[in-house]
C-alpha cells in the first residue's frame, strides 16, 4: 500500500507529491493529462488584483479576505492557508526550481509587459523576464522605469507576437510611479527549421537550444538595437537548455527580456518539465494518462482510488488521498444544462454561492467560478453544510478549491502552491501520528 495517492499533475499535485516524497512517504501521482502550468505564463501570481492592482500581496491579504468575506459566505482558499503557507509554498517552489527557473519575492509584486502591451502584476518570474520588470514598490526601482527605451522585436516566422501592437500600447501605459516608457517595434527573421515560414514558439525555442543556431539571431539583434535600449522578444528563447537565454543575452550585450505568448507557453513548459523531472527523480510514482474514476471507501475513510488502467481498473490503495485535479478547466468540476454543478471524480459535496451562477456581464466576475470543494485549515475536504470531513483522509489543493476567482484575482498559482504545501504538511504529520 502507498502512503499517499495524489490525483492530478498540475502545479499543486506536482508540488505536493514532491514534498510528500521528500518527507519519506511513498507517493503515487495519477493524472490523465498535463495540468494548466504550461498554458500559463511561467510566472507565479500570488494576488494581482483585489480588484485594484496589488503591490504587496501578503500585507494586503487580510483586507482582501475581509472584503471577500463580506461579499460571499464561501471562505477563500487563502482564508485557510493564511499568508504563512503562501510564503512557505512559493519559497519552497522557488528553491526546488532554482534561480535558473524562478526569481522574485512573495512580499512585493512587480509588473511585466504582456503580449498586448499591458502591465501585469506577478510575484515570481523566470530570470529571462527580469530585464522587463516594472516595479510596483516606489522604494525599489525595476529594470524598466520612466523614460526607459524598449524595442519590441517580432520574429517574422512566428505569428503570435505583434511588436507594433505591443510597443504602441506599452508607450501609452502610465507607469505606477508616473511617467512612461519609450517603445518602438522592429523585426527579425529566424526560421526554426529549413523552409518553415510559420513556426510554433516551441519550434523556435528548440532551435535556440542549439548553441550553433543562436548566432543568427544575435547578429540581427545587435544590428537593430540602439544604445541604451532594452530588447523585448517573444518568450521562445530556449526550451530544454536552461542557459540558452543567459547565453543569448550576453552575446547580444544589452538588456533583453521575454514576453509570454499564447500556448504553447514555453516558460510554463520549462517549469512543468523541471517539476516533473524532480518528482520522478525523487521516485514519485507517476501514472501518466490514467483517469481516476472514483474511489472505494468504508466508515468515512477512503481506501483506494480506482484508476482506469487499460483493460482493467486498478484499485490503488493508500493511507491518504490528495485531490489536486483542477477545476472546470480540467473537467473535475462540471456544469450541466440544468445549472447543476458537480465534482466528477469522487462526487464530493460542493460549496456553491447563492443566487444565479452565471450572469451576462462579460467583464465582471462569474459566481460559478468560485464553486469548488470546501476544506478546513488542514485542507481536509469538508461538507459545506456541516463543516465535517467527508472522508477523514481526503485532502484537496489547487483549482478544485471553492471561494476564489483565480483569473480575476490573479491568484491561481499562489493558491495552488499554498494549499499544496498546507495539505502535504498536514498529511505528513497525520500519517506520522498514525504510525506512532
Amino acid at each position: 500500500m502507498r502512503d499517499v495517492m495524489v490525483i492530478g499533475a498540475g502545479l499543486s499535485g506536482l508540488l505536493a507529491a514532491i514534498r510528500l516524497r521528500q518527507a519519506g512517504l511513498s507517493v503515487a501521482l495519477v493524472h490523465k493529462g498535463r495540468g494548466g502550468l504550461q498554458l500559463g505564463q511561467g510566472t507565479v501570481d500570488v494576488l494581482g488584483y483585489r480588484p485594484q492592482r496589488v503591490a504587496r500581496p501578503l500585507d494586503e491579504l487580510d483586507e482582501f479576505l475581509a472584503d471577500q468575506h463580506r461579499a460571499s459566505d464561501i471562505a477563500h482558499p487563502y482564508a485557510h492557508t493564511g499568508a504563512d503557507a503562501i510564503r512557505e509554498g512559493v519559497g519552497y517552489l522557488a528553491e526546488l526550481l532554482g534561480e535558473d527557473y524562478l526569481v522574485g519575492d512573495a512580499e512585493v509584486n512587480v509588473a511585466l509587459p504582456t503580449a498586448v502591451g499591458a502591465l501585469r502584476p506577478t510575484a515570481y518570474y523566470p530570470p529571462s523576464m527580469a530585464d522587463g520588470v516594472v516595479s510596483l514598490d516606489p522604494a525599489k526601482p525595476g529594470a524598466l522605469r520612466a523614460g526607459s527605451a524598449v524595442v519590441v522585436v517580432g520574429i517574422r516566422e512566428f505569428k503570435d507576437f505583434t511588436p507594433e501592437l505591443i510597443a504602441g500600447n506599452l508607450a501609452l501605459n502610465d507607469l505606477p510611479g508616473g511617467g512612461r516608457l519609450e517603445a518602438r517595434a522592429d523585426w527579425v527573421s529566424f526560421p526554426a527549421r529549413d523552409g518553415e515560414v510559420d513556426s510554433t514558439g516551441l519550434n523556435i525555442a528548440r532551435a535556440l537550444d542549439d548553441p550553433a543556431r543562436r548566432g543568427a539571431l544575435v547578429d540581427q539583434l545587435k544590428a537593430l538595437g540602439r544604445p541604451g535600449e532594452t530588447i523585448a522578444l517573444p518568450a521562445v528563447l530556449g526550451h530544454e537548455d536552461p542557459t540558452a537565454f543567459a547565453d543569448l543575452r550576453s552575446q547580444v550585450g544589452s538588456p533583453l527580456f521575454e514576453i509570454p505568448v499564447p500556448p504553447p507557453g514555453v516558460p510554463g513548459m520549462r517549469l512543468n518539465d523541471r517539476l516533473t523531472r524532480i518528482a520522478k527523480e525523487a521516485r514519485v510514482e507517476v501514472f501518466l494518462g490514467s483517469n481516476v474514476l472514483g474511489a472505494d471507501s468504508a466508515g468515512g475513510v477512503l481506501q483506494a482510488g480506482v484508476v482506469g488502467t487499460t483493460g482493467h481498473d486498478t484499485h490503488l490503495k493508500a493511507r491518504a488521498f490528495l485531490l489536486a485535479a483542477g477545476g472546470f478547466e480540467s473537467g473535475t468540476l462540471e456544469l450541466d444544462s440544468y445549472q447543476k454543478v458537480s465534482e466528477t471524480i469522487l462526487g464530493l459535496p460542493l460549496a456553491i454561492p447563492a443566487g444565479e451562477l452565471i450572469h451576462d456581464t462579460w467583464a465582471g466576475q462569474q459566481p460559478l467560478f468560485s464553486v469548488g470543494v470546501a476544506t478546513n485549515d488542514d485542507m481536509v475536504v469538508v461538507d459545506p453544510a456541516t463543516g465535517e470531513p467527508v472522508y477523514s483522509n481526503l485532502y484537496a489543493a489547487g483549482g478544485v478549491l471553492a471561494g476564489a476567482q483565480r483569473w480575476d484575482e490573479k491568484s491561481g498559482e499562489g493558491i495552488a502552491v499554498a494549499s499544496a504545501v498546507r495539505a502535504a504538511d498536514a498529511i505528513i504529520s497525520n500519517l506520522a501520528g498514525g504510525q506512532r
Partner: protein, 458 residues
C-alpha cells in the same frame, strides 16, 4: 447515428462528389467498405464514433503538439492537433492531410491531452482509410511476424548472417522498402515451443514456497521466435515463485497489422489468439513480457479497431505485463524480496505502448527493489521504432531522430546493460547504441540468483 449520416449526405450533395467517397456515400459507409465488420457490429460503430466525437472536446491548448516526438524532429509531419481533431472535421471520407502517414501511432498525444481527446486513435482510424487503395506490399509483409518467425527459426544462422550482409540489405530496401540499417531481430535456432518441449519439466520452486496455482503465459510472436530468452526467464521466475505456468498454443495478436492499417486481418488474429488463451482457463491471470502485445489485447483492439468480442474482453481484463504482475504481488506483500545485491546503474526506457496502458512504470519500482540497482529513466517519449514505423525506408531517419536523445542517454549511463519492456524497442536501442538491452525480467531472474544478469540477451 442517423443524424450524423444525414449531415454528411447533405454535405456531399452540396459540395458535389469527392474523391474516395462515391456520390451519396457517407464516411461511415466508406469505413464499412474498408472494414466490413463495422456494418455487422453496432458496438464497433459506437467505439469508432466515440473516438471521433471526442474531437469536440479539443480546446486547442496545443499540449499534444508540444509532446509529439515526431513533430519535434521533422517538419514533414503537421502534428497531432492538426492531423487529429482539426483535420478530422474536414476529412469526410478523403484524407485532407497526407502527412498523417508520418504519425507513428505512439499514442503520446492521447496520454498528455487533458481533455481526453482520442488523438492517436483518430489518426490510426483515418490512416486505415487513407491507405486502403494503395497499401504498400512492404506493409503487408512486415506485419506477418508469425510467419517470419516460423520461416527464420529453422535457418537461424543463415538468416542472421544474411541480415548482416550490406548488399542483401540494400536489395531488401530496394525491393521491399525496409531500410538497410533498420534493426532486425536475431533469429533463434529454437523457438520457445521447442524449448518447452525439450526441457525436463518446470524450474524448481524456491525453497519452502507453496504452490500458487496456474497462470497463463502469452509469449507474443517476438517472444516465441526471437526474444526466446525473455520468455524462458519469465516462465522460470514465475515457477520459482510457485506458479504453474501454462503456455497454450497461440498465434499473433495482430498489432503490427493494426498499426499498418490492416484492420480486418488484425481483428481476426486478435480474436483467434484470445480464444486460444481462453482455452487454457477462463479465469486465470494472463501474463505477458511483450509489453506492446499486452496493450493490444488490453485496449487497442477495442479502442482503435472497435473489436467487441467477449474472448478479447475477457483476456484483456486478466492480462498483466510481467513487471505489473510482479509489482502487484509486492504491493500485496506476496513477493519475496530476498534479492541478491546487484550494484548497477541501469538506463531504462518505458516504451510508448507500455506508457499508454496507464499503469505507471512498474519496471522502475520493481527493479529498484533489488539492492544496489539504480534506474535512470530515459524521460523520452518514444524510441522511434513504434512497432514497424522505424523499419520503413522513408521513415528510418525520422525514427532515428526521435530516438537520438534516448540513445545518447543509454550510451552515457549504461554499465553494460539497458532495460526496456518491448521487443522492437529493444532491437532499436540495441541497434542504435550497441548496448545489450533486455526485458526487466532478466534483472529479476538474476536477482533471484537464477542466472547472471549478463547472461545472453536473446
Amino acid at each position: 447515428m442517423s443524424d450524423l449520416l444525414d449531415t454528411n449526405e447533405t454535405a456531399v450533395e452540396e459540395l458535389g462528389p469527392r474523391p474516395g467517397l462515391a456520390p451519396g456515400q457517407t464516411v461511415w459507409e466508406l469505413l464499412a467498405a474498408v472494414s466490413p465488420r463495422i456494418k455487422d457490429n453496432p458496438n464497433t460503430y459506437e467505439a469508432q464514433q466515440l473516438n471521433r466525437v471526442s474531437l469536440d472536446q479539443c480546446v486547442k491548448c496545443t499540449i499534444c503538439e508540444t509532446m509529439c516526438p515526431v513533430a519535434k524532429v521533422t517538419p514533414l509531419f503537421s502534428g497531432p492537433k492538426f492531423v487529429g481533431p482539426q483535420a478530422e472535421r474536414f476529412r469526410n471520407g478523403e484524407s485532407v492531410d497526407h502527412t498523417l502517414d508520418y504519425c507513428s501511432s505512439c499514442g503520446i498525444c492521447t496520454l498528455n491531452c487533458p481533455q481526453d481527446v482520442k488523438i492517436a486513435e483518430i489518426n490510426s482510424m483515418a490512416r486505415a482509410v487513407m491507405k486502403k487503395d494503395h497499401m504498400p506490399l512492404r506493409d503487408r509483409l512486415i506485419t506477418q511476424t508469425e510467419l517470419e518467425g516460423r520461416l527464420l527459426t529453422p535457418f537461424a544462422p543463415v538468416a542472421n548472417w544474411a541480415l548482416k550482409q550490406k548488399p542483401i540489405r540494400v536489395a531488401v530496401e530496394k525491393v521491399v522498402g525496409v531500410h538497410r540499417d533498420a534493426p532486425m531481430p536475431v533469429a533463434q535456432s529454437q523457438s520457445i515451443k521447442g524449448w518447452l518441449k525439450h526441457r525436463k519439466g518446470p524450474a524448481p520452486r524456491r525453497p519452502g514456497q507453496p504452490d500458487r496455482g496456474p497462470v497463463v503465459f502469452f509469449t507474443g510472436c517476438a517472444g516465441t521466435y526471437f526474444e526466446v530468452e525473455t520468455s524462458k526467464k519469465t516462465i522460470e521466475v514465475l515457477e520459482h515463485l510457485g506458479f504453474e505456468v501454462l503456455v497454450p498454443k497461440q498465434g499473433c495478436c495482430g498489432l503490427a497489422e493494426q498499426s499498418n492499417g490492416l484492420f480486418d486481418s488484425a481483428r481476426k488474429r486478435v480474436v483467434k489468439l484470445c480464444e486460444q488463451l481462453n482455452a487454457a482457463g477462463k479465469e486465470l491471470t494472463v501474463i505477458s513480457s511483450s509489453g506492446s502485445c499486452a496493450g493490444m489485447i488490453k485496449h487497442e483492439a477495442h479502442e482503435i479497431m472497435g473489436v467487441d468480442d467477449p474472448a478479447v474482453r475477457s483476456v484483456g481484463t486478466r492480462m498483466r505485463e510481467t513487471s505489473e504482475f510482479l509489482l502487484d504481488l509486492f504491493d500485496e506483500d506476496e513477493l519475496p524480496t530476498d534479492f541478491k545485491t546487484l550494484e548497477m546503474k541501469i538506463p531504462y526506457h518505458a516504451p510508448c505502448q507500455v506508457k499508454s496502458q496507464g499503469m505507471g512504470m512498474p519496471a522502475i519500482r520493481l527493479m529498484e527493489l533489488v539492492p544496489g540497482i539504480r534506474v535512470i529513466e530515459s524521460e523520452e517519449n518514444c524510441c522511434g521504432i513504434a512497432g514497424t514505423y522505424g523499419l520503413k525506408k522513408e521513415k528510418y531517419d525520422v525514427a532515428q531522430a526521435v530516438g537520438r536523445n534516448l540513445f545518447e542517454k543509454v550510451k552515457e549511463h549504461n554499465e553494460g546493460l539497458a532495460v526496456c519492456d518491448t521487443e522492437t524497442c529493444r532491437w532499436q536501442i540495441r541497434n542504435s547504441t550497441g548496448v545489450s538491452t533486455v526485458h526487466p525480467v532478466h534483472v529479476i531472474h538474476a536477482a533471484y540468483g537464477l542466472s547472471d544478469v549478463f547472461s545472453p540477451e536473446v
